[in-house]
Symmetry: none
Subunit: 423 residues, 2 copies
């Protein structure tokens, strides 16, 4: 099955808004083995939109549109899809009810122009919108499928996952060529270092391996093509994964949908350990990462954002002496911050960050990007010095990843010590 994505919205053509929806959709469609041949982005211009829709429906099996479902006169996607497919527009009473309820919950009357959002090309399968007022739709005609989705990514992505994914899964014929894919995620090694270690695996005939640099991670993407979901392909992926993990060891922190924070949370849950945070340069980002997933209250107690030195002293008990002698960005202060929050919060582990996020505040001795990550555990207190590069937000995000990785490596090492009986 061949697919095409059409995104509408003048904001996408002004450089204001990044088209993350097309990115999300191609990822999902590729995962289903559906080949995306074209993305097209156009503004809210009826003539151009109609022409693009006509061209797309003419050459593809599956057309996915995003945007143009709002209540204003600019929003014309449904109307033009109906025109191109020669279908009438019809009111869907249950969508109208949903939109009225949406405003009802907010104690507001439904504005008249929102009624437009309840009209669809005749024969549409309606896709509920649990976040906003614009439902989506799936339309089938003459062997073509058109899927109409709202523009805002936070409305579009849950609608796709809940209502479109299952429909597409059913459509996929079992004998279509599939890409059996696996992604291994690496922290703390660069592209060329990985390439050197894995060079001999990269030229294998039935396996494609690609390295992809992410902000704080490297991804190794393995693909085996097969005529169906084959055990053989899985077998090749398993063997390759095993070999890569053998060579890279702890540097591989996860695979596929696994994230650093997900892995760290799982390790903490498995061992029934709690953790607390003391943050300076990350300003709360580490706590935000630790509480990203539901269920984080099982292991995360909380922490202190000690941005000002007065709070490092007052809330964490960092000594004035260390602050004066070594400065706030130092191994000593990182250790005292971690020890301080561990004792205040009564947690098993505690992690701290202090560094120079920039762009100002750097010096020859302590350049922008210098960060200390402290870790307090029953086994003792340590701090790690890291030199990061990049803009302020990069330095902060990389610090969060480095801190989480510190916790991960610590727990893996403790585990191994316990298992091998030398701890």
């Amino acid at each position: 099955m061949k697919a095409e994505i059409v995104s509408t919205g003048t904001e996408l053509l002004l450089g204001e808004t990044l088209n993350t929806s097309a990115h999300f959709l191609t990822g999902k469609l590729s995962a289903l083995g559906i080949e995306v041949d074209y993305h097209t982005t156009i503004g809210d211009n009826p003539e151009r939109l109609e022409q693009v829709l006509r061209q797309a429906i003419g050459r593809t099996d599956l057309l996915v549109t995003t945007g143009g479902l709002g209540p204003t006169v600019d929003d014309l996607t449904k109307e033009l899809v109906a025109k191109v497919l020669d279908l009438k527009m019809e009111l869907d009473p249950s969508s109208l009810e949903h939109i009225k309820q949406f405003f009802g919950r907010r104690k507001a009357p439904m504005p008249l122009n929102n009624e437009k959002q309840a009209y669809f090309p005749k024969g549409s399968k309606i896709l509920p919108n649990h976040i906003g007022t614009a439902p989506g739709a799936i339309i089938e005609k003459n062997g073509k499928t058109v899927i109409i989705l709202p523009g805002p990514p936070f409305e579009m992505t849950p609608m796709f996952d809940n209502y479109v994914w299952p429909v597409l899964q059913q459509k996929i014929e079992p004998d279509v060529e599939r890409m059996n894919e696996r992604v291994l995620k690496v922290f703390g090694m660069g592209e060329s270092a990985i390439e050197e270690v894995l060079a001999d695996l990269m030229g294998l005939p039935n396996l494609s391996m690609a390295l992809l640099a992410k902000r704080a991670e490297m991804h190794i993407r393995l693909v085996v093509r097969s005529s169906k979901i084959s055990e053989e392909a899985e077998e090749v992926l398993n063997r390759t994964e095993e070999e890569i993990r053998r060579r890279l060891g702890n540097k591989v922190f996860g695979r596929d949908q696994e994230t650093m924070i997900g892995i760290v949370g799982q390790l903490l849950k498995n061992e029934q350990l709690t953790i607390a945070t003391a943050e300076s340069c990350t300003g709360g980002l580490l706590g935000a990462a630790l509480t990203q997933e539901p269920g984080s209250s099982e292991f995360y107690l909380g922490g202190v954002v000690s941005y000002a030195n007065s709070l490092k002293q007052g809330l964490l008990g960092v000594s004035a002496e260390s602050l004066n002698k070594y400065g706030a960005v130092s191994e000593e202060v990182a250790k005292e911050m971690a020890a301080g929050i561990r004792s205040k919060a009564g947690s098993d582990l505690a992690i701290s960050t202090t560094g120079i996020a920039g762009p100002d505040g750097g010096s020859a001795q302590k350049p922008v990007g210098l960060v200390y990550v402290g870790l307090a555990a029953p086994e003792g207190i340590q701090a790690e010095k890291i030199q990061l590069y990049g803009e302020r937000e990069s330095v902060r995000q990389l610090t969060v990843q480095a801190a989480l990785n510190r916790v991960r490596v610590h727990m893996l090492n403790s585990e191994r010590r316990i298992q091998s009986g030398d701890g």
Copy 2:
């Protein structure tokens, strides 16, 4: 001048790589007053690429391509542009020299296939690449301009800024139509409510007004077209902005590049006030927002992430009685959290968040999305109850925006009281 962007690269159609280049380029072209009508993204497929290039060159004045300049046989952008424009490919000796030097610096011989990167359509103006091996090119024929740029954003963006921007600036005739743009940002009002209040302004002949829903904000985008940067157009924008602000009042929090956090930071700096945070459901996101911009240490002291109730009591002094009687998500606890951190941190203002981010933990009395935002100030302590909708991460982000907006509105009101002498 009308423009079109064509991005090639199979990685863009696998959902792996976000197309930030198209975003960057549309922003730059719009800023020059060049209207971008289409983006198209396609894989490294010669037939489709040729067809898309032919269509684009047929209907636009300026075509910008990214990608397909690598050394492999898949990389065909230059070759196909030459074919569509009926030009021969020619070796550029100085580019070849540059590529050889690139490998020389890395103490490696130049692989033979890299020689391909030194060939260009005849008559090209070559654009040097200071980062990688693939030079870009500008080609003019029959009144059409084609600009060929490399795919990796870190190679493409400096090449554009250094070599393409000046050329385009010269091309823009002084009497070309320009879009004079202004964006007003609104918090706490939905799309239809704004549309109703501004309906009569939306049909004006020389002004276009569009509403854009962001996750926690609405943007009102005003555009006045004029033959040059005219004072008259500025005047229309100013008058319209004034009228919108008169109607929407405090709901308008900023314009153009201004952000909620930027505005709040500026207000705090202007009044030389400090602030501290006590976060539960936001887990550190509020502190992270307040420390996003450099210079935030002028107003932000820090705070406590009291995720567990034990930390609400231990670090903030919230009473066991309130926690038992009203629960952690309550007006009383929000107030005690704000009061507690204000006293511990010694800040002028303090803001707190406690709520049910979901997806679990909701009940009939306290549904998912119920949030209290507390504010402690010299004038007293208050808490606001908010019901939010959406996924966990949306609820958390919206809570941060609501908390920042709470601070903003408080400061604007205090300001007005002081100015009018009734405070």
